[in-house]
């Protein structure tokens, strides 16, 4: 299978907006789709660079996202700031094991795993590894699929802040960690968007001639 030829090798580019395949004229400058007018590239522009940059930003913000409180809840019983981890611990201790697991997986594990896997994929392309491109493609698809669940936490937080507003009695406010956390999620999404999985095949193709 790794001897299937890529479109690029045949001078064909794909418009990523309308999936129209083109022949590419010679010369410099931007090329746009003949059908929908979107700018098309052989591969996503600076895919590795952008992906790596967003990923680095996400990795940096992953630390404050988990260290800082994401939600400040005030009630008659006093004010309490919760980080994601403390929320997980609290849920676990109060017997909501399932919720704790969901929160842990969606909010801590998934972004972390995503950062690591993307880093691995980028590194693999950058280093022109030939290791198991199918597995890498699977990993990429998995990463892209799973990333949408990371936003659950932010949504829950946003809904809480919007709905639970009984001044004096209960008050829920976003804390700085929420911003960092949302940034992590958005940045990992951007990173995985910027990553062009075709690069995986390009490198293996190049290796095989």
């Amino acid at each position: 299978m790794n001897h299937a030829h890529s479109a690029l090798s045949q001078g064909l580019w794909l418009c990523l907006s309308c999936e129209q395949l083109h022949r590419v004229p010679e010369g410099e400058g931007k090329i746009s789709c003949v059908r929908c007018g979107a700018v098309i590239h052989a591969r996503k522009t600076a895919s590795l660079t952008r992906s790596a940059a967003f990923l680095a930003a996400a990795a940096v913000l992953y630390v404050p996202a988990n260290m800082l409180p994401v939600i400040t809840s005030g009630s008659l019983f006093g004010t309490q700031s919760d980080t994601i981890l403390s929320g997980v611990v609290h849920l676990w201790q109060t017997g909501s094991g399932l919720l704790a697991a969901i929160l842990f997986i969606a909010s801590i594990l998934v972004p972390g795993v995503k950062v690591i896997t993307l880093a691995f994929l980028i590194w693999a392309v950058y280093g022109r590894w030939n290791w198991n491109p199918r597995q890498r493609a699977l990993i990429y698809r998995g990463t892209a699929w799973i990333s949408r669940w990371s936003m659950v936490d932010i949504y829950v937080g946003a809904v809480l802040v919007a709905l639970v507003q009984f001044p004096v009695f209960v008050k829920v406010e976003p804390a700085p960690g929420a911003v960092a956390f949302a940034a992590v999620v958005v940045l990992t999404m951007l990173a995985s968007m910027c990553f062009d999985p075709r690069l995986t095949w390009d490198s293996t193709e190049a290796a095989h001639g």
């Binding site: 064909l12 580019w13 083109h22 746009s32 952008r50 930003a57 940096v60």
Partner: protein, 544 residues
């Protein structure tokens, strides 16, 4: 592969646009910004991390690591990080982190820490918010400059927090009663402060109560100020009758201390803080005992002092000049008789000249000498009945110029004040005299006579009863027949006298005859009156 490209003519050729590609390097701004942001957050976090302190408490009740706050004036200035037992296991050590900015002001030697829990004391509920929100650690910064990071926490919250204007005074009393920390202090009914400390004095003979008087009331406290326990109701029965005094309904429930200056006290400078005062039992006592000169004397009475008690008044012409302090019994082995010894405090100052210091010429004699002079003039102590109903007694001082010579016996301690031998009869005595007289009445004999009389009366009544019986059986029927006959007689009489009876008609005719006869007689007498001679000559004229 190019030929393959050519072999796909069906595919459209893309449109070429002018313009170079953007530099991809710009995207690295994103991680740089993220790094800067993350770095700033981290730096801020580490910068804001305040110093850690250790506070030792007896118990960590209500303190939770990571949750319990340290607060001053309801502002969080720190949070408890961990709670652990001390090495000897006798106390708990609370590790806490203090806010960096406030730390220098709070971490000094005399800073006080205490756990705020809900408390109900002195009519005030405090720390109610902790009921729901959990306890917190209160802190009151000290004034020292000496740095410190290990503190011993207070077990009882300090009552005076902050730099409240006012002064602390010490009040000594016999008994704490219902006083407690936070018990209000009243000045003429105004809440003027509160109790801040209660403890026993060094010897354990009295209690010392620290009272904090708020400004501006603290300026009313001078060295002559009286403090008294305003707890509850004060019921006193004395020579002037029964009296109930209540400060306020609240003090009945919660107790309280009142203070006031004696009404006629001169203006004095406010007392300095920590001045000690006596805590009197009640207002009367507090206001009464403002005698600075007190002379203890004793009086020996040969009679019962029932009705006299410690606190009874010593009276001179209606003015209280002293107070009975103690009553004892003394046995005189030689004479084999008992004497009641009444010790009393006299206030000689009340028996002095009204002239004030400035006008006084001669030096003031000593109080005891003054009393001596009074005794020489015939002053004697006498027991008198104050209240006939309750049998209260009081000691009266009075001048008896004709009394036997006596001296104030200063050889004894306390000096013996002479009592007047002849003492008036009291109500009890009179009552017993009456009782004795009553005893002489031969109640038993009277009762016997009464019983005899009653027996005789009973016999008479019996006889009367028999007589009545006879009357009803014998006399009554006869009486009935008699009455029947009488009725008949009356009936016939009525018949005879009725108008249409023959007897009636006859009678009327007879009476007519009589009337006519009477008329003739009158005519005759008239004629004879006019012509008396006719008696002799006979009628004239008619015969002619």
């Amino acid at each position: 592969m190019v030929e393959e490209n050519a072999s796909r003519p069906d595919l459209p050729e893309a449109v070429a646009k002018r313009g170079g590609p953007r530099s991809p390097q710009l995207v690295w701004i994103v991680p740089i910004v993220a790094l800067a942001l993350g770095g700033w957050l981290a730096i801020q976090h580490f910068l804001n991390r305040g110093p850690n302190i250790e506070i030792t408490f007896k118990s960590a009740e209500g303190i939770e690591a990571g949750k319990t706050r340290i607060r001053n004036k309801a502002v969080d200035i720190g949070v408890v990080k961990s709670v652990r037992l001390s090495e000897d296991g006798k106390s708990v050590i609370v590790d806490a982190e203090i806010d960096r900015k406030t730390a220098p002001r709070f971490l000094v030697e005399d800073t006080r820490f205490w756990v705020v829990r809900p408390r109900i004391a002195g009519g005030q509920v405090s720390g109610l918010s902790t009921l729901l929100a959990g306890s917190y650690i209160g802190v009151e910064p000290g004034t020292s400059k000496q740095k410190k990071t290990e503190f011993a926490g207070l077990e009882v919250p300090p009552v005076i927090v902050g730099d409240s204007p006012g002064k602390v005074f010490m009040v000594r009393g016999d008994d704490l009663g219902s006083l407690d920390i936070n018990t209000p202090i009243y000045f003429r009914g105004l809440v003027a402060g509160k109790v801040v400390s209660t403890d026993a004095s060094g010897t354990g003979e009295e209690v010392r109560v620290g009272v904090f008087i708020d400004a501006p009331y603290d300026r009313f406290v001078n060295t002559d100020t009286r403090f008294w326990n305003a707890s509850g109701a004060e019921v006193s029965i004395d020579a002037s009758g029964a009296k109930v005094q209540v400060q306020s309904l609240l003090t009945i429930l919660l107790g309280g201390i009142s203070f006031e200056n004696p009404p006629d006290a001169p203006e004095m400078a406010p007392a300095p803080a920590k001045t000690e005062f006596v805590l009197y039992d009640n207002r009367t006592e507090a206001m009464q005992v403002h005698e600075t000169i007190v002379e203890r004397v004793m009086v020996k009475f040969a009679r019962s002092v029932r009705g006299l008690k410690a606190g009874s008044a010593v009276d001179f012409r209606g003015i209280t000049v002293g107070m009975v302090k103690r009553i004892d019994l003394e046995f005189d082995p030689q004479a084999v008789k008992f004497l009641t010894v009444v010790e009393m405090d006299l206030y000689p100052d009340r028996l002095r000249s009204r002239k004030r210091n400035a006008q006084r010429t001669a030096p003031e004699p000593k109080p005891i000498e003054r009393l001596q002079r009074f005794v020489d003039r015939g002053m004697r102590a006498q027991l008198r009945t104050a209240n006939l109903l309750t049998g209260q007694l009081y000691v009266a001082l009075e001048f008896f110029p004709n009394a036997a010579k006596a001296k104030l016996d200063v050889a004894q301690t306390p000096p013996e004040f002479p009592a007047l031998a002849g003492e008036p009869r009291e109500l009890g005595d009179s009552v017993s005299a009456i009782a004795a007289n009553l005893e002489k009445v031969p109640f038993d004999k009277i009762a016997q006579d009464l019983r005899d009389s009653l027996a005789a009366l009973k016999g008479s009544l019996k006889r009367a009863d028999a007589l009545m019986g006879q009357i009803s059986t014998d006399v009554a029927p006869q009486l009935a027949s008699t009455l029947e006959q009488a009725k008949k007689t009356l009936g016939s009489a009525e018949q005879a006298l009725s108008s249409d009876s023959p007897v009636g008609g006859d009678l009327r005719g007879a009476l007519d005859e009589v009337r006519r006869a009477a008329e003739s007689v009158r005519m005759l007498t008239d004629y004879l009156e006019r012509h008396p001679e006719s008696l002799i000559r006979g009628k004239r004229g008619e015969s002619k």
